[in-house]
């Protein structure tokens, strides 16, 4: 494994020596992060070595995530799990290399890179776990709010709020909002799985869920329940 030349990276957080070419011109990078960026753009053996080291780290992160979620993949063989980890690391590596100029230095480079590997692995695990399962989208599932799923506080409060929530789900939402809300919050369908089945994205589905929740909260508050109406998202709409 090739190491960066001694002295090429000053210790600690240092000012950017070449603002025009660096991904961040007005901030400082920690030495390790700068070392990664330099090595990944170095060309030749140094770049190849950096890419190999990065892939190894991403593979480690992907395996961590898959091991963590192993209980949802009890029927999947170890060989397939290894393939999932490798695919996740490969996809994450491509994303990191493609987006590295977007790295703003607001975290360590490795933390920034790990999130791609963990995301790739978690999405693949969720989709694999639901691969042979039907996604329940029954519009009436909201009418079956299971008492066993209530928290002790909610159970103590009795059925008044539950009845109001059921009523609000039934009358206050569009059919699409109701389907998404029921699937994600009552039936426990992972958002990435639902997004894949509906041909949309996690963000778009969460926006639908957010809008549905805001409607429910507004209706419950208008009926006098001690429920805070949901504010709009900070900065950009959720």
């Amino acid at each position: 494994m090739t190491r960066l030349p001694a002295g090429s990276v000053p210790p600690g957080r240092v000012a950017d020596p070449n603002p025009a070419s660096a991904p961040m011109s007005d901030r400082s990078l920690d030495a390790a992060s700068r070392g990664w960026l330099v090595a990944l753009d170095a060309g030749g053996h140094e770049q190849e070595d950096a890419i190999a080291r990065l892939h190894a780290l991403l593979l480690r992160a992907a395996r961590f995530e898959i091991t963590r979620r192993r209980s949802s993949l009890v029927m999947v063989r170890g060989e397939e799990l290894d393939d999932l980890a490798t695919q996740s690391a490969d996809d994450a590596l491509m994303a990191v290399l493609r987006k590295r100029q977007e790295f703003r230095g607001e975290s360590r480079f490795t933390t920034w890179a790990y999130k791609f590997a963990l995301l790739e692995a978690s999405v693949k695990v969720r989709r694999r776990a639901w691969q042979d399962r039907e996604v329940p989208l029954e519009p009436d599932a909201w009418d079956l709010l299971p008492a066993g799923s209530l928290s002790p506080e909610e159970a103590l409060e009795g059925g008044e709020l539950i009845a109001a929530v059921q009523r609000a789900i039934g009358t206050g939402l569009t059919a699409h909002q109701r389907h998404v809300l029921v699937a994600l919050t009552i039936n426990g369908v992972p958002v990435d799985v639902l997004a894949e089945r509906l041909g949309t994205t996690r963000g778009a589905l969460y926006k639908t869920l957010h809008d549905a929740r805001r409607k429910l909260r507004a209706q419950l508050a208008s009926e006098g329940f001690a429920i805070r109406p949901q504010n709009h998202a900070k900065g950009d709409a959720a």
């Binding site: 963590r68 978690s122 805070r228 949901q230």
Partner: protein, 84 residues
């Protein structure tokens, strides 16, 4: 829950009703959450006040199971690997 004065603080909604109604406060989107996640984790592990630095993240992580899980994974992995 009785129909009471709405000026009272909202009780904790941790079970099914909590999942259905989600967080009350402002929250970031899934896309923004992913953009901020690495900085959020590093700041949090350094002991900084992440709620002050990144308002809306905690609410989103509590309301979006997928982003919440991704946050836990990144936090735990970075902590376990010693923030290499």
């Amino acid at each position: 829950m009785s129909q009471t004065d709405v000026s009272h603080p909202e009780p904790p909604l941790t079970g099914l009703i909590g999942r259905v109604l989600g967080p009350a406060g402002p929250e970031v989107s899934c896309e923004r959450c992913f953009e901020l996640l690495d900085a959020y984790v590093d700041l949090k592990l350094s002991g900084a006040d992440v709620d002050l630095a990144m308002p809306g993240m905690r609410a989103h992580l509590g309301g979006c199971p997928a982003c919440g899980e991704d946050h836990e994974s990144l936090r735990d992995f970075v902590a376990a690997t010693g923030r290499q």
